[in-house]
């Protein structure tokens, strides 16, 4: 019997003690793995939003509400419908320093029959668009025709399925890749389809007119790409001055808001993990000291029959490593069960972009969490091992006769 199998027997034949220690390390692994995955998902979501947005400036109607509404639409997937005069598009294009400007038109559906929930419909102009097309090209092969739509990954409609929006039958020709943002819950179509849908909405008594405008044409948002070498801030203020009843928002400032909340959540999670760790480490140390006292005689006997100090310490460390390994694996499994199936729930309750990191990152995080749990278990045990191996077996054997 090598010390490993002796350690294993000691663990298996004292299931209560082993379970208590494993539970502590499970808690450690759970907190560090679960917490890290949430933080990493938030960061991944922010990265995804950043790379998807692609625009330097976004022009939205100037009402205070529409700005908030736009941001919520992007981050939380709430619906928004706000409009401004389409002439603003030409005005933006006239501004010096604007390389590209592409309009979008929003419509909030009534409850669609599929899920009795409002759906955000986003119409874009395939000719000028630089925002949705690159994303679409990843998963949709053909151009959008009349009454064709593509859906975000969180809309549960299969390709080929017909969804009804204001009683218009729209055909789903593709599903988009996940972004972890509010864009995942929207439905996308070209401007012609959008106009048809707007008319259908009007027929149902839902008005989408701007209260006062120069023309009948309207847009909801204008995505602007600034020419390379031009100062974005400068172009932003020029657009601001040049457009009517519209405000230009720098995407960077919007992203800063998001990354600020992310930083807040990150530090809260980190603090929580730290608190759990300090607590668990203290409990582990106390537990090991108590166990060491309880097992003093057992260890003295092992010394008596010829175990050296090194072998004894090795056995204690192996016991704790095996126990923390089991606990760590259980903790990671439980955290995975808590975090991955409930991704959408976490995303909606945080109201921030949240995108599951790549498998490689998840595996690495899991291994690190496991290593940390085993490490901390061994650290707590090594103190006990050190103290025990220094105990004089003669003295212990005399005690408690």
């Amino acid at each position: 019997m090598k010390t490993v199998s002796l350690a294993l027997r000691n663990l298996l034949r004292k299931p209560g003690r082993t379970a208590a220690l494993a539970a502590l390390t499970a808690l450690l692994a759970f907190s560090v793995f679960g917490g890290s995955i949430v933080v990493r998902s938030l960061r991944h979501g922010l990265d995804s939003l950043e790379s998807r947005l692609g625009a330097d400036i976004i022009v939205v109607p100037s009402s205070a509400q529409s700005k908030v509404s736009f941001q919520n639409m992007l981050l939380q997937g709430t619906t928004g419908a706000f409009y401004m005069d389409a002439a603003n598009l030409d005005r933006v294009r006239e501004v010096d320093g604007v390389a590209l400007a592409s309009p979008q038109l929003f419509l909030a559906s009534l409850k669609a029959d599929c899920c009795s929930v409002k759906i955000q419909v986003i119409g874009f102009d395939p000719e000028t668009d630089f925002f949705i097309r690159p994303w679409m090209e990843e998963s949709v092969s053909r151009e959008l025709g009349e009454l064709d739509v593509v859906v975000g990954c969180k809309v549960e409609a299969e390709v080929g399925e017909i969804i009804r929006i204001y009683d218009e039958r729209c055909k789903v020709i593709g599903r988009l890749a996940a972004t972890g943002t509010g864009l995942d819950t929207a439905v996308y179509c070209n401007m012609d389809t959008m106009k048809t849908l707007l008319q259908a909405a009007e027929a149902k008594g839902v008005s989408h007119k701007v209260s006062s405008g120069d023309s009948d044409e309207q847009v909801s948002a204008i995505y602007v790409k600034v020419r390379e070498g031009c100062d974005i801030g400068e172009v932003n203020s020029k657009i601001q001055g040049h457009t009517r009843k519209a405000s230009a928002v720098r995407t960077k400032s919007m992203l800063t808001d998001v990354s600020d909340s992310l930083a807040g959540i990150s530090s809260t999670v980190t603090l929580l993990i730290a608190a759990v760790w300090v607590l668990a480490l203290v409990i582990l140390l106390i537990a090991f000291v108590m166990i060491a006292n309880e097992r003093k005689r057992e260890f003295a006997v092992l010394r008596l029959i010829g175990m050296s100090r090194g072998m004894l310490s090795g056995m204690i460390l192996k016991e704790s490593a095996l126990c923390s390994l089991a606990g760590g694996l259980i903790g990671i499994l439980l955290a995975a069960l808590a975090v991955f199936p409930f991704t959408t729930l976490i995303e909606t309750s945080l109201g921030l972009p949240y995108l599951r990191p790549e498998t490689g990152v998840i595996v690495t995080t899991g291994l690190l969490a496991l290593a940390a749990a085993v490490g901390i278990g061994s650290l707590a045990a090594s103190w006990a091992a050190f103290r025990l191996s220094r105990v004089d077996p003669g003295t212990v054997l005399r005690e408690g006769n």
Binding site: K154, E156, T344
Partner: protein, 135 residues
């Protein structure tokens, strides 16, 4: 406590959580206007499955015959499998992943039913071992 007692008790408890959860904290979407979506009926089905599991666990808990207990565990494993497939596969849920039935009910029911399935299979193996030892 004997292993088989623990297993029956777990099936009873998890069944109760499924049943109670399906009409409360793990339940389907609630619509403001009081109308029902398909997910409502998936929730109702889960209520029935949860009650059935809890009863199977309860009967197994008080049953002294190892063979009958094994039979009950096979039955609870199959019932759990049904529960695993009910929300989403057998009964449709809402069309948006952010809705409660998809974000909460479906994953929670899958985890709970998966756990019952696993525990029941362990229970069947444990019963077989016991009867094997007695024979």
């Amino acid at each position: 406590m004997k292993k088989t007692t623990v297993i029956s008790l777990l099936v009873l408890l998890l069944g109760a959580v499924i049943a109670i959860g399906s009409v409360s904290f793990l339940g389907p979407c609630v619509h403001e206007d009081g109308s029902f979506g398909a997910c409502h009926w998936a929730g109702r089905a889960m209520l029935g499955i949860g009650v059935l599991l809890a009863l199977q666990g309860a009967v197994a808990l008080f049953c002294r015959d190892g063979g009958i207990r094994a039979g009950l565990m096979i039955s609870s494993a199959l019932t759990a499998l049904l529960g695993l497939l009910t929300p989403g596969q057998l009964i449709a849920l809402c069309g948006m992943a952010t809705m409660r039935c998809r974000a909460v009910m479906q994953p929670a029911m899958r985890i709970l039913c998966g756990a019952v399935l696993l525990i029941s299979v362990i229970g069947v193996i444990a019963e077989r071992k016991r009867t094997g030892e007695q024979a």
